[in-house]
């Protein structure tokens, strides 16, 4: 590094500072456009993003909606086909972008979802018991089939109850809503 002043036609000038190399551009872990292109085959983009479970879900939904449309009834399965496909493309691109943003420190890491509501486990348990009792011949679900709208009534009641609970709790007080959707790379 030169320290002596340079004289140019009697006007002293400071030496030009030595050029410092520009910091290297951070290497982003994921390429969102590659994720999108891979998702042209449903689920592959999610595999690229490191989300195998989500990949399985998208692939199953895609195949299931095609099968349902062809073998069961075009309505409503035909409507699901473009929805599932496009959502799979968008999700792959967005998730890759979020992963990149997180790696640059712009977004907080997603908090691991701890537990589901007891209703989830209870529903699985009850459903499993009903099917098991039916298969053992102690229950005849076919005879109860006509009462299936009771499930709608129960679901409606649950929604109403939850809505009333939220009104009572108010904004910012008590726990966060159970069904809040988190937009991150670790969960749906």
């Amino acid at each position: 590094m030169s320290t002596s002043p340079t004289v140019t036609e009697g006007v002293p000038t400071l030496p030009a500072p030595a050029a410092t190399p520009a910091p290297p551009a951070p290497k982003l872990p994921k390429n969102p456009w590659l994720a999108l292109v891979l998702s042209l085959f449903p689920g592959l983009g999610q595999v690229y993003n490191g989300q195998p479970a989500k990949a399985f879900v998208f692939f199953s939904a895609w195949v299931g909606s095609i099968y349902g449309s062809a073998e069961i009834n075009p309505f409503p399965f035909a409507f699901l086909i473009p929805f599932v496909y496009l959502y799979n493309l968008i999700d792959a691109f967005r998730t890759a972008s979020l992963i990149n943003a997180r790696s640059l420190g712009g977004l907080p890491a997603p908090e691991e979802e701890a537990f589901e509501s007891p209703l989830w486990g209870g529903s699985l348990l009850v459903l499993g018991l009903l099917l098991l009792l039916n298969n053992l011949g102690w229950l005849h679900l076919a005879a109860l089939a006509r009462y299936w709208p009771v499930a709608l009534i129960v679901a409606g009641g649950a929604f109403l109850y939850s809505a009333i609970q939220r009104r009572r709790v108010g904004d910012g007080i008590g726990r966060a809503p159970v069904s809040q959707e988190t937009r991150d790379g670790g969960s749906l």
Binding site: L98, P118, L124, L125, G128, L132
Partner: protein, 67 residues
């Protein structure tokens, strides 16, 4: 707080274990595989539901993050 064990892996583990036992018994001519599977497969749902229920009832209220 993360769960002490993965419920999904536990369920899959039990499923594979049960399937393997039943298949072995079927190959030995002790059971009819299809009938046994048809009768007992809902136990997977029962087991999964029980694990989820126990985990949910024994948790401390968790603050859910969002982004």
């Amino acid at each position: 707080m993360a769960a002490p064990f993965s419920i999904e892996r536990t369920v899959i583990g039990f499923a594979l274990l049960g399937l393997g036992v039943l298949w072995l018994l079927a190959n030995a001519g002790r059971v009819d595989l299809l009938s046994a599977l048809r009768t007992w497969w809902p136990l997977l749902l029962v087991l999964w539901g029980a694990l989820e229920l126990v985990a949910a009832l024994s948790r401390k209220p968790a603050r859910r993050g969002g982004s």
